[in-house]
Symmetry: C2
Subunit: 239 residues, 2 copies
DNA sequence: AAAAATTAATTGTATTATAAATAGTATTGT
DNA sequence: ACAATACTATTTATAATACAATTAATTTTT
């Protein structure tokens, strides 16, 4: 995870962030005290406390005198924080979590495409098309499937011209990565999938918001339907 | 803003967070050095550094040796962080910002209503109905209009059963507050508005996702259309 | 048994010292 | 004159120590 270039505080932030996601420290439980963290990681209290403050800022923990450092309820976590999303990938694969990601994608991506068709400038279109070319190459095995896919969706978010949508790029990227974890093997982008993305690009380029919206919608609905079915089967087999 | 109960670190975090939003320290500019912050606020370097780390964790600033403490580009800000959203309310009112809020609400709220109609449990329904009663009372002047409105939308988000949607409660609340700033006076909830919310509740209660979605959609579209028109007129008058 | 006082554990803040990183400046070599 | 190098000074990063403030747990008092 390339932590060697980071300073001690940053390293500890990531160590603890990942450990919390891996439920080494479950919600409601206590982390080691400052003093114990210092000795366990062999660093000063200064660095330790700064790491604790950063995790506090991201909503993962709280610290109070005598009570110690406790993992907060998930509803307090800043789930849209870039670091938190990275750490989520270190947690257990969870089909329900995947569904949660897809439910929000279903809400976001069609509207992002709609806005992109309204507000994308020339540079935005260049970016989207570049990602599309990479996807095309990926169908032939010349580029990385998933990175190209991520780049496409992120460039559409940027093209929305809305900082809130842009901010959600990491969320979408993580959603795609979580999805990959459930389809273990490397699935090459099919021509059908490529065409769906190419259509969205065309609608954005031609400033046809409603068509872009609809095209993105069907894709998201199909993906969510698959996972909903998987969960249904899982729950049927469990009961 | 009730800072007296907070410790020194927290106070400084909020002071600087608000100052950044008020563009006292614009994007790209430097904050005072650690030493200067210490003397300006009369606190130790320990507390100062911990505040800087917390703002760094929220993406607002970065600090490097010799370069000092700089305000990051907005795309680095964690715009869905509860504190950041609170500080946004201390910035200048901005019609474009309002549109950005409404564009995301348009994406989120219909889907949240859809999910609520699928997954809301009894307790969720109780919460939504309680908020609805408060809105009804507000039409008669017996309760605070905006708080009741915020409570309604937040309870629907909770009822989605999706932690990502739940996390966006502060976002929606801030969006509503920003909206209020542009309609200066206290506008009482009209019976028409109340009925729109009551309809959504009925559809959620009766597990009719698509109807709940559509009902939420028309409301959001209408609100966004008003602001789009305002911006159009503004831009027409400017040119 | 209830209330009050005490104790002890833990984080909060302050201070001082030193290390590391780096932008800016000066020096050197060609 | 120019490029590469070395130096210097500024600022943050880390460490170590001391004490204050908070509060859970315990003990004492009533």
């Amino acid at each position: 995870m390339e932590t060697s270039h980071r300073n001690l505080t940053q390293q500890l932030v990531h160590e603890l962030g990942k450990a919390i996601m891996q439920e080494k420290y479950p919600v409601g439980s206590s982390l080691p005290s400052e003093a114990d963290l210092c000795s366990q990681y062999g660093i000063s209290r200064t660095a330790t406390r700064e790491a604790v403050k950063m995790l506090t800022a991201k909503g993962l923990i709280s610290s109070r005198p005598r009570q110690g450092i406790k993992v907060q309820a998930i509803k307090r976590w800043n789930l849209f924080d870039t670091d938190v999303l990275e750490w989520v990938l270190h947690g257990k694969p969870d089909l329900y979590m995947l569904r949660h990601f897809l439910q929000l994608r279903l809400a976001l991506e069609p509207e992002a495409a709609y806005l992109a068709a309204q507000y994308a400038d020339q540079e935005d279109l260049v970016q989207i098309e570049a990602a599309l070319v990479r996807m095309k190459d990926a169908t032939n095995g010349y580029d990385d499937t998933h990175e190209a896919d991520i780049a496409f969706h992120q460039s559409v978010l940027s093209a929305s011209g809305n900082p809130f949508f842009s901010q959600l790029k990491t969320f979408i990227a993580t959603a795609l990565k979580v999805n990959i974890r459930f389809t273990n093997r490397m699935i090459p982008v099919t021509l059908v999938e490529y065409q769906a993305h190419a259509d969205i690009f065309e609608y954005i380029k031609n400033k046809q918001p409603q068509l872009a919206f609809d095209a993105a919608l069907v894709t998201q609905k199909a993906t969510l339907a698959i996972v909903n079915k998987q969960i249904e089967e899982l729950e049927a087999s469990t009961n």
